[in-house]
Symmetry: C2
DNA sequence: CTCTCTGCATGATGACCATCATGCTGAATT
DNA sequence: AATTCAGCATGATGGTCATCATGCAGAGAG
């Protein structure tokens, strides 16, 4: 054989791309080095030429998966001058998004997994989440700072919850209904003027 | 040794209880038979006295975890005559719930995992979700049927999304903020009269 | 053209996994 | 009291896992 530097870069790229898709489709725990390397046409031994450990790959794959979300948002913005909340929702709360988790938003697919992960993994998602939140805030526009931040947080909660539930409901009429209902609640909230937010109470679930 | 029928029932109970906690804390994939049996004071071999397979246990543990949610809701209703949307939110979107995933709502903890599972597992969650949705609809009260169902779906989307995000944000000020923002959006939506809901559009994420 | 360096394949290592086979011991039954 | 039965422990099985050691062949440098 023999392998150029450029080929190595391509290999690494294909490994990350495949891993980013797999973790979104099947979860972080389900990612297997052997299976992954087979899927990109290499053998397991070559893995450690590219990554120090499985954890290092997971970090890179999560980063990539999260970046895909920003790329999709940027692509959707192209052409239209300004992004509106409605246009974001039309893309995000769509059947296409629900049915393609491997290419979709990593927050929706992996929030549960990341919630139980270590601080480093959580920080990686938080960093990208900040961008998502800022994009929503910008689309929502002006108004007092805190209220916009609250709207963004609530809207994103609803969006990722709705995608997760619509996937649980796959094959059921409610799978479509939950997307529409979430869309409606967020759009209504956008138009309404709102009061300051109190702190959450302490109680048992 | 020697073991009575009552002791067997207790063993089975402890296995399911421990498993229901573990899957909520660490995910379904992370559940290991050996570790689980050790944690309840038995050895791995005894597992198959109680369950046909790991999958059978997962089904039982998920069912139990989901029932815990209904039990918590029933306990919260005790004393007060009627459950309101606000009282549901006060319990659900609380720091206590966020900080105790092992004892909390299985939908919030496992929606992502279940979304990528088979039809049988998804159906188990859907069945319990129907109860949760009905409880929310009842608390919301009267009004035209479809609108109440949409409110329930959107509210639950927001609730499980907010818990998931607040766990990702653990240790960050946004962890509290997202709970409060979600609470606010749902309460505002409850009071507003609303229009019929259109179908979701088709588009890329 | 020669030499070094490296991307990759092959194979080994040891840990863990779910599952099954066997046997002991005391509960249940008569 | 004798006998059957069942819950559990021990240990084996075969598979998969992440990781490391070794060797080869071709790319890059001189």
């Amino acid at each position: 054989m023999g392998h150029s530097r450029a080929e190595k870069a391509q290999s690494r790229e294909r490994i990350i791309t495949a891993a980013a898709q797999t973790i979104r489709e099947r979860g972080i725990d389900a990612l297997s080095i052997g299976e992954l390397m087979r899927s990109v046409g290499l053998t397991h031994g070559a893995f450690y030429v590219h990554f120090e450990s499985r954890d290092a790959l997971v970090a890179a794959a999560l980063e990539r998966a999260l970046l895909d979300g920003e790329a999709a948002a940027a692509a959707a913005r192209r052409g239209v001058g300004k992004r509106t909340v409605k246009s974001i929702l039309n893309n995000y709360l769509s059947r296409a998004h629900r049915d393609a988790p491997g290419a979709g938003c990593a927050v929706a697919a992996l929030a549960g997994d990341v919630a139980r992960s270590g601080p480093a993994t959580r920080r990686a998602m938080i960093q990208k989440l900040d961008n998502y939140l800022a994009a929503m805030a910008e689309a929502h526009g002006g108004a007092p700072r805190d209220e916009v931040a609250d709207f963004s947080l609530a809207a994103w909660s609803t969006m990722i919850g709705a995608i997760a539930l619509s996937r649980v409901f796959a094959g059921d009429p409610r799978s479509d209904q939950v997307l529409a209902a979430a869309r409606k609640m967020i759009l209504d909230a956008e138009q309404r003027p709102s009061d300051p937010v109190p702190k959450p109470p302490a109680a048992t679930p």
